[in-house]
Amino acid sequence: MPSSVVNLTVNGREQEFLARPAESLLTSLRDRLGLMAAKRGCAQGSCGTCTVLVDDKPVMSCLVAVETIEAAEVRTLEGVADGERLDEVQQAFLDGFATQCGFCTAGMIMTAEALLAENPDPTHDEVVEAISGNVCRCTGYRAIVAAILDAAGRRK
């Protein structure tokens, strides 16, 4: 089957790899680049566990055919911490007991990163709307919303 050469900048590094036709960005990140933070919860855009930033916008990476975003800038959870130093969102999730099984966490954090980059001082309702496409089956969401608001406070 003909594969295409795809170039992306992922977490600041230029990457070139082969992708099968109609391969999703999620598959490329995981199978080609070994970046496993984004998770496959449904591969249908209904769970949000694979959310990453493409040119600063949060999208579900399972829904993006990777060859259609040639040369894009992609940011995943692996690119959020500065070495071992967590950023504010990560630290707020950690301190706020906002993770349980952890499977939704990468998507939640990337969605929050995009929200706070665009809107550094979101209201409770704005946080809720931002993560409304991210499913969490464990926590009941309160701690997650609180952690994102906490992260906004820490950045001030």
Partner: protein
């Protein structure tokens, strides 16, 4: 205070750092070279005889490596609780002769890519001869209902010669005869999916020494290992399970449904094999929390004392037993709820229907029973024009009470949580109710 140094303190979760950095490894984060993908061809019928299975077109699909049928599974028929002595084996790994629910696995298609596996599975042609199906627990128990699972012989699971799990404590008939009021109501629930964000799956990697390493999101490593070894007919030490990271379990990942067939695939191809449910399979094919139907009949005195409780429970096990016989026993043990009721009678039926097999889910046997029992308490309180908390306090079990399954209660605290909840919402309780205690009669 307790004098403890670590116990009782909110130390940070040891797994949280991995979660917030994306470094926690889930089973699917493994990507061994040469990985094959397994997808199922599944029954499109609720109940049918399999007149023929034609895999020839599927085999020709580009990328398809091999197709497994029932003949490839060493011990195809099993039941997961056989490990604790539950009989009979009633469920095939891959369908043999008959399918008993829509979505039942028939053929496993192993391919180089996920897309090829899907395409191969879609090309399996199955010739069905429909059989009558039954979807309702009470209809299934009626005389003349089609038999769902001939390995079970009847449409109910048999408990030591009985058609249901029974509780017999005191004399409910006498209680009804002497009661000021008798109330009888009915409750029902829908099947509920665990809906974990990570679907059920595994990756099996053949090892240099001939063993199989199974990376799985099972909730129970040895339970999965032991059941898998029995199905494969291999020594137990041929298998190794590596797990312990689960993207949501809630009871749904104890069924041992993906590992055995993946092991067979890995053994026959000599290559790593991944079988992971897609979202549709997780939602519609993986076992749900059983639908239940509960009828409660209570004998109640005018002051609110409940003197007798009769419960008829139907647990919809779907087409196979899995963990439902145990869940039904667990429900029986939970009756009549946290109340000291001197006369209790319960018939708890584990019923087979042509629906997706149900199994364990967070609190199964108890969750739906609590819905029924606590709705019942509210209705009694309203019928007697009583405060709903006072009704509960009057009947609450305390230390030393004998439960319906004849175990003396200890460590009870129902009264205390009710008092605390009343305080939280400003619900006034008269002094005598505020002074009650679970550990003084």
């Amino acid at each position: 205070m307790t004098g403890y140094k670590v116990i009782g303190s909110a130390v940070q979760r040891s797994d949280a750092l991995g979660h917030v950095t994306g470094r926690t490894e889930f089973f699917e984060d493994l990507n061994p070279p040469g990985l094959l993908h397994l997808k199922m061809a599944r029954s499109e019928r609720h109940h049918a005889r399999l007149a023929g299975i034609d895999t020839s077109e599927a085999e020709k699909t580009k990328g398809v490596v091999r197709i497994l049928t029932a003949d490839d599974i060493p011990n195809n028929l099993f039941t997961p609780l056989k490990l604790i002595g539950v009989e009979p084996d009633d469920e095939p790994i891959l369908a043999e002769g008959t399918v008993r629910y829509r979505g039942e696995p028939i053929c496993a298609v192993i391919a180089e890519t996920e897309a090829a596996a899907y395409e191969g599975a879609a090309k399996v042609v199955v010739d069905y001869e429909d059989l009558p199906a039954v979807f309702d627990v009470e209809e299934a128990l009626r005389e003349g209902a089609p038999i769902v699972n001939e390995h079970q012989r009847t449409n109910f699971f048999t408990y030591e010669g009985h058609h249901c799990r029974r509780i017999r404590f005191g004399d409910v008939e006498q209680a009804f005869a002497q009661a000021d009021h008798v109330f009888e109501w009915r409750y029902q629930s829908a099947p509920i999916e665990h809906a974990p964000t990570e679907t059920t799956g595994c990756i099996v990697v053949p090892q240099a020494d001939g063993r199989l390493r199974i990376h799985s999101d099972t909730q129970a490593c040895f339970f999965t290992l032991d059941n898998t070894a029995l199905i494969l007919g291999t020594p137990f030490n041929k298998l190794r399970i590596v797990g312990g990271t689960v993207g949501g379990g809630f009871g749904g990942k104890v069924d041992v449904v993906v590992e055995p067939v993946s092991c067979v695939a890995a053994m026959l191809t000599g290559r790593p094999v991944k079988f992971v449910y897609n979202r549709r399979e997780e939602m519609q094919v993986s076992s749900p929390r059983a639908a239940e139907r509960i009828i409660i009949k209570d004998a109640v005195m005018s002051g609110g004392r409940i003197t007798g409780r009769q419960v008829t429970l139907y647990v919809d096990s779907g087409a196979y037993a899995r963990h439902s016989p145990y869940g039904t026993t667990k429900a029986a043990a939970h009756l009549p709820g946290p109340y000291a009721i001197p006369n209790v009678w319960a018939d708890c039926h584990c019923v087979f229907t042509n629906r997706t097999p149900s199994s364990a889910m967070r609190g199964f046997g108890v969750t739906i029973a609590d819905f029924a029992l606590e709705s019942q308490m509210d209705r009694i309180a309203r019928a007697l024009d009583m405060d709903p908390l006072q009704l509960r306090l009057i009947n609450a079990y305390r230390d030393g009470d004998l439960t319906a399954h004849r175990k003396p209660a200890e460590g009870t605290a129902l009264i205390e949580v009710i008092q605390k909840a009343a305080e939280m919402v400003g619900h006034d309780l008269p002094a005598e109710f505020q002074e009650m205690s679970s550990w003084q009669s």
